[in-house]
Amino acid sequence: MMVTLNKDVMSIVKEQDVIPFRNRIKEYATKIGMGLVNQTKLITAASELVRNMLKYANGGKVYIEVVSKGRENGIRLSFEDKGPGIPDINLALKDGYSTGKSLGLGLPGTKRLVSEFNIASEVGKGTTVTVVKWKNG
C-alpha cells in the first residue's frame, strides 16, 4: 500500500521552467535522504519526460509526491498533459523509435532509470506518465 506523505504541483509551460522543476525534485529527494546516484537517475528521467511534455503537448502539469510503502520512502512524479496522446504505447516504448528528430531514447531510457513506470494515454485527450523512484531502489 502506497501512502502519500506530501504533494506538490508545478506547471511546466516553457523551457525555462525545467531548471526550477529539477531543483524542486532535488530538494525533495535530498529531504528523504536519497543517494546521489538515484537522485541523478530520477532527475534525468524527469528531464526526459518533461521535455516530451513540452515538445509534443506544449507543456502540462507535474505532481511531485513523497510516497511511502512499508519501510521504503520514495518520490512519485506524475506528468499530465492535454496533448495529442500516443496511439501506440508499445511502439513508443521501443528503443530507437521516435516520431520527432530525437534518438528515441526518451521513454525506454526513462523506464530503465526509475523503479516504477506507468503510462496512460488517450489519442486526442492527453497522456499521463507516472514514475516512482524508491530511496534505495
Partner: protein
C-alpha cells in the same frame, strides 16, 4: 540571453560549463563553438562538465554533435570531469557517448588532446611519398 564563455588557449578552445543548461543555451553553445573552431583554427576543444549534475539524452546529443562537427573541421574534442553519477545514468539511459573522448580532469584532458594532435600530424607526414 546568457552565454557560455569559450576561452582560447593556444591551439585549444576551453569551455567550462558552470550552470545547468537549458536546451536553447546548449544549442547556442554548439553553434558558437563550431564557429569558434573555424574562426580560430583551433585543433582541440576541451569541455569541462565537472559542474554539470544532469546530462539527459538531449544534452548528450549536443555533446556528440559538438564532437562530430569539430572532427569534420579537423579539431578533436575531449570531455573532462564527468561526475560518476552522471556516467552511471548515461549508460543506463542507453547513451554511452560513442565517439566522444573523455578524461578524468582538465590536466589529463589537455595531455590527451596534445597526443591526439601530435598523432594526427605524425600520420599526415607519413602519408607523403617519403623514402
Amino acid at each position: 540571453m546568457e552565454k557560455i564563455p569559450i576561452l582560447r588557449m593556444g591551439k585549444f578552445l576551453l569551455v567550462t560549463i558552470q550552470v545547468d543548461l537549458y536546451d536553447r543555451l546548449a544549442e547556442a553553445l554548439e553553434a558558437d563553438l563550431v564557429q569558434m573552431v573555424k574562426k580560430t583554427g583551433a585543433q582541440g576543444v576541451l569541455i569541462d562538465i565537472s559542474a554539470v549534475s544532469i546530462i539527459d539524452s538531449f544534452m548528450g546529443r549536443i555533446i556528440g554533435n559538438i564532437a562530430t562537427m569539430s572532427k569534420i573541421l579537423d579539431a578533436e574534442t575531449v570531455v573532462v570531469g564527468m561526475q560518476p553519477a552522471v556516467a552511471i545514468t548515461l549508460v543506463e539511459l542507453g547513451l554511452p557517448l560513442k565517439g566522444v573522448h573523455s578524461s578524468l580532469n582538465v590536466e589529463r584532458g589537455m595531455e590527451l588532446l596534445r597526443t591526439k594532435i601530435n598523432l594526427s600530424e605524425g600520420q599526415s607526414d607519413d602519408d607523403g611519398y617519403a623514402e
